[in-house]
């Protein structure tokens, strides 16, 4: 990567935009490419018997889309009386050439920022609790860190949980 950093052209082309969002008291981030849209949390239909992290399904322009709450599996705090309604990140996942959309419930979306790859540091093995396997890296931002979410791993774990492999998700 040494040669690319000296070339301003390729450096800028490598810069990625990230959506910054708040999740259970932590600042998380996700490549903007993966986020189809952000919705205000609307009416969800509860799915009795679904996995605990499944908050329900919603109608996204005529398509039924599941919405998950990652705070439970990540062991994060759930604010019982949120000051504002949470919102839903519509995240795309690609599966055998098919694009499916899954909703992730977050406390709020604060910003979209550009970062270059060398600003993304490897995630520590410890200290992130249950979320550790799903954090791909850290980005130092202002006074704190942004946790880069590895959505593919999240979806894999969700899919596993649905068929009863990794319980608790």
């Amino acid at each position: 990567m040494a040669d690319t950093t000296t070339d301003p052209y390729s450096e800028s082309s490598l810069t990625q935009s990230y959506v910054i969002f708040r999740l259970g008291g932590e600042d998380y981030t996700l490549e903007v490419m993966r986020v189809q849209e952000v919705l205000d949390m609307g009416a969800l239909t509860h799915v009795p018997g679904g996995p605990p992290s499944l908050r329900g399904v919603l109608n996204l322009r005529g398509k039924v889309v599941p919405v998950y709450d990652l705070r439970l599996p990540f062991g994060l705090t759930v604010d019982p009386t949120p000051t504002r309604a949470p919102c839903v990140l519509m995240v795309e996942s690609h599966n055998n050439g098919e694009v499916s959309v899954t909703g992730l419930l977050v406390d709020r979306v604060s910003d979209v920022l550009d970062f270059s790859p060398d600003e993304v540091q490897p995630a520590p093995q410890l200290g992130l609790g249950k979320a550790s396997p799903f954090v791909r890296g850290l980005i130092r931002h202002q006074e704190g860190f942004l946790l880069v979410l590895d959505v593919d791993r999240v979806f894999a774990a969700l899919a596993g949980a649905k068929i009863g492999i990794a319980g608790g998700f």
């Binding site: 009416a43 239909t45 509860h46 799915v47 009795p48 018997g49 679904g50 499944l54 399904v57 919603l58 109608n59 005529g62 398509k63 039924v64 889309v65 599941p66 599966n95 098919e98 499916s100 899954t102 969700l158 899919a159 649905k162 068929i163």
Partner: protein, 764 residues
């Protein structure tokens, strides 16, 4: 997707279709031995597969197909008689091809079974010659050192080439008799040059050739396989770099081919390029003179004296070297012929080989669409209809007069859109039925029974998914019919029935459903044995009469019959529960009708479409659910009736009958007290009435079903979701799964209670 992948994808699609028509062709061939046009069509299917496979570089498939094609060609040339052995082998070869194509699609190649290759080879051997060992690899040069076969002179004006048979353009027919070689062709180089034909060929690819995925080099390779080739490339037309279109081929190839084969053989080579390329073939006779051919339409009509045919040369690893080569003898020595081949004359109307990657179909235009996109469209159209429904409420408002026409039009159009898109999902059951002649034939072969298959109503249209998913259940029933329903020819004769058993597949409408009947005129169900078994299994009370209507349906019970009861029960019941479950999962039902000694019929009754259901909207603990109307036999109000406990399960009395009850609230672990008045949805589970209790009935809905999304499909209790008029999502309950789930939980609980009797009953 890269270009290569795209062509491979196209190949797979084409190949699947061609393999289907090959199979149908082979099946028909047995019945229509003398139908030349049909034979040609079948031959062409094989030839097209070969060409298409070679073009995408699947030489294994191409080589193997060549063997199939060669056998068909011998049939065409009347040097091989069609018998059931030939057909069976060819069908088996087709099956191998189908497997090989799917394997390639999955990314690996499978070799052809040696024994199959050998059996194909046997057909290709000439009875007059000694059995030679099969050539192991595709010969790069024409087979040499062969004794020429004495030419067989056709007694009648048979056209030498099947491909140009019935339905050919007059032009193609006319040039036929002019295709002569100089004297008897000798395949052997030992017999010196005069035995070979010399052709001068010019191939000028059309502008679209490369875009269609046709590789001109493949053509050159194929020519090289026929004989020795001198290829020169004419680059004159290559434009300057600035004007160069990289997707266009600007070369013209000039080929001098010295070969033992006749001009007709060359036609095959250019089958795929002729579409938009300019191909001229000139034949040079032994004096080295290129004869300018008479214009095709001026050529003389075929006359018996002129034409003589011989088996065509076949060059492939499957072909033993002794394979006789073409010898076309002409009475008048028309030593050389030029066969101009302007592209447009190439595809003869209905039997034209379907060139790869072209849309030159004259049949009603069809386009392929992505099934997923179609489903999306159905979903959206359904929602549009719902939204339009909602808007209709505006009509009631004051001052809405100006909008009434628009609202009405919106209502009409949105319904039309929904109905049309739903119609797009429908396919004729023919797609399902077309594979059964083959299945029945194989089964008849194996069982030694004589069977006639009748198919009725194959135009009946059904949801695509249903057609796809019914195949296995139907094959299961057909197999049962052959193995166990139909008697042997001897038995039938003894009973005064025709030797040949008959299986009838019938499709038709019954109200808003489609009924598929699989009927056979065999021995009928053995009710005594079924009743005995049913009593032994505790499925029916002791003393049940043989005439009890419940008896027949016993055969659908899981585990009702196993292998060792096959003979006793004439095999009925083996896995029939699986068939029934498959039909139920399609929201259909399975029934049986049987008369001793006269036969048995199984009847599938299926919804027209899976995309829409008629449902009941119900409410439990504040959530709304849709229940498929087809699953509900009856709704009964429970006015505070306290369920009684029977064997630890809650039961209620419905008109004197004690019916087990599954409260939805407890299955879904809802909190809060149930309302006094509940509604009981009566459904049937394992032949028994079961009630599912819900809080409220809200009304009937027509719902467009959507899948619950990835992974959530494993929640069997919901068969999907739908979007209600107010835009909210409602889950669709599968009552059968719910009842089964609750039963399983009951059993589990009972076991746990027995195991740990001191501990309190687990709260599930």
């Amino acid at each position: 997707m890269s270009g290569d992948d795209r062509f491979r994808e196209m190949f797979f699609e084409e190949a699947r279709e061609l393999l289907l028509s090959l199979e149908e062709g082979l099946m028909e061939l047995e019945r229509r031995k003398d139908d030349r046009a049909h034979l040609d069509k079948t031959f062409r299917a094989a030839h097209s597969i070969k060409g298409a496979a070679a073009m995408v570089g699947m030489s294994g498939i191409a080589d193997f197909t060549h063997g199939v094609e060669a056998v068909l060609d011998k049939v065409r040339n009347k040097t091989l008689n069609v018998d059931s052995d030939v057909i069976s082998t060819l069908l088996e070869a087709r099956d191998h091809l189908a497997t090989a194509v799917e394997a390639e699609a999955a990314g690996f190649a499978i070799p052809a079974p040696i024994d199959l290759i050998k059996r194909l080879e046997i057909f290709l051997q000439d009875p007059a010659t000694i059995t030679p060992p099969p050539a192991p690899a595709r010969p790069k040069a024409p087979v040499i050192l062969l004794p020429p076969e004495p030419p067989i002179v056709a007694p009648t004006a048979k056209k030498p080439r099947a491909k140009k048979g019935a339905g050919t353009s007059p032009e193609a027919k006319a040039k036929k008799p002019t295709k002569k070689s100089a004297g008897a062709e000798t395949p052997s180089t030992l017999k010196a040059k005069p035995g070979l034909n010399l052709f001068r060929i010019s191939l000028r690819p059309g502008p679209e050739m490369l875009k269609r995925g046709v590789n001109p080099l493949g053509v050159l390779d194929e020519l090289r396989d026929l004989g020795s080739c001198k290829v020169t490339t004419d680059p004159d037309e290559i434009p300057s770099l600035a004007e160069l279109d990289p997707e266009r081929c600007f070369f013209t190839w000039n080929i001098e081919l010295e070969t033992a084969v006749g001009p007709d053989r060359l036609d095959d080579v250019f089958l795929f390029v002729a579409e938009d390329s300019t191909v001229t073939i000139e034949q040079i006779d032994e004096r080295g003179i290129i004869k300018i051919p008479p214009p095709a339409h001026e050529a003389v009509a075929p006359s018996p004296a002129v034409v003589a045919t011989k088996p065509k040369p076949l060059l492939s690893p499957l072909i033993p070297p002794k394979e006789p080569l073409t010898a076309i003898i002409s009475a008048s020595d028309l030593a050389a012929t030029i066969l101009p081949k302007p592209a447009p004359s190439k595809p003869p109307a209905p039997e034209a080989p379907r060139p790869l990657n072209t849309a030159s179909n004259k049949v009603p235009t069809r386009i392929r669409v992505d099934a997923g996109q179609l489903d999306d469209l159905v979903g959206l159209a359904g929602e549009l209809a719902v939204l339009s429904d909602n808007l209709q409420g505006l009509r009631e408002l004051e001052g809405s007069n100006t909008w009434i026409t628009t609202l009405e039009a919106l209502d009409r159009v949105s319904r039309l859109i929904r109905d049309t898109t739903l119609e797009l999902r429908m396919v004729p059951v023919e797609e399902l039925f077309s594979r059964f002649p083959r299945v029945v034939r194989d089964l008849a072969d194996r069982s030694g029974k004589e069977i006639e298959l009748r198919i009725v109503g194959q135009d009946t249209r059904l949801d695509r998914t249903i057609v796809e998913r019914l195949s296995e259940p139907m094959i299961h029933l057909i197999r049962n019919a052959v193995d166990h329903g139909l008697e042997t020819p001897e038995e039938r004769q003894a009973m005064g029935k025709p030797r040949m058993g008959r299986i009838t597949l019938q499709a038709g409408h019954e109200g808003d459903r489609v009924a598929l009947r699989i009927e056979e005129d065999g021995r009928g169900l053995n009710r005594e044995a079924i009743v005995k078994k049913g009593i032994a299994k505790g499925l029916v009370p002791i003393g049940t009469s043989v005439d009890d209507p419940r008896v027949d349906t016993l055969i659908f019970e899981p585990g009702f019959s196993t292998r060792d009861q096959v003979s006793e029960l004439s095999g009925r019941g083996v896995g029939l529960d699986v068939v029934r479950d498959a039909v139920r999962s399609l929201r259909g039902s399975l029934a049986v009708e049987s008369q001793p000694g006269k036969g048995t019929a199984f009847i599938f009754r299926l919804p027209l479409t899976l995309a829409l259901i008629d449902g009941l909207l119900v409410e439990t603990a504040g959530s709304r659910y849709v229940v498929p109307l087809a699953q509900v036999e009856e709704c009964v109000a429970l006015n505070g009736t306290q369920p009684a406990l029977s064997k630890g399960r809650p039961c209620v009395s419905v008109r004197g009958e004690l019916v087990p009850m599954v409260p939805l609230r407890s299955v879904f672990h809802c909190t809060g007290p149930a309302p006094l008045r509940q509604e009981l949805l009566l459904t049937r589970h394992a032949g028994q009435r079961v009630g599912v209790a819900v809080d409220k009935l809200l009304g009937r809905v027509q719902a467009v079903i959507q899948s619950l999304g990835e992974g959530l499909g494993v929640l069997g209790r919901f068969s999907g979701a739908t979007i209600l008029g107010d835009g909210s999502v409602s889950l669709i309950l599968d009552l059968a799964a719910l009842v089964a789930e609750s039963r399983a939980a009951d059993t589990q609980r009972a076991i746990q209670m027995q195991l740990s009797s001191p501990s309190p009953q687990p709260s599930a």
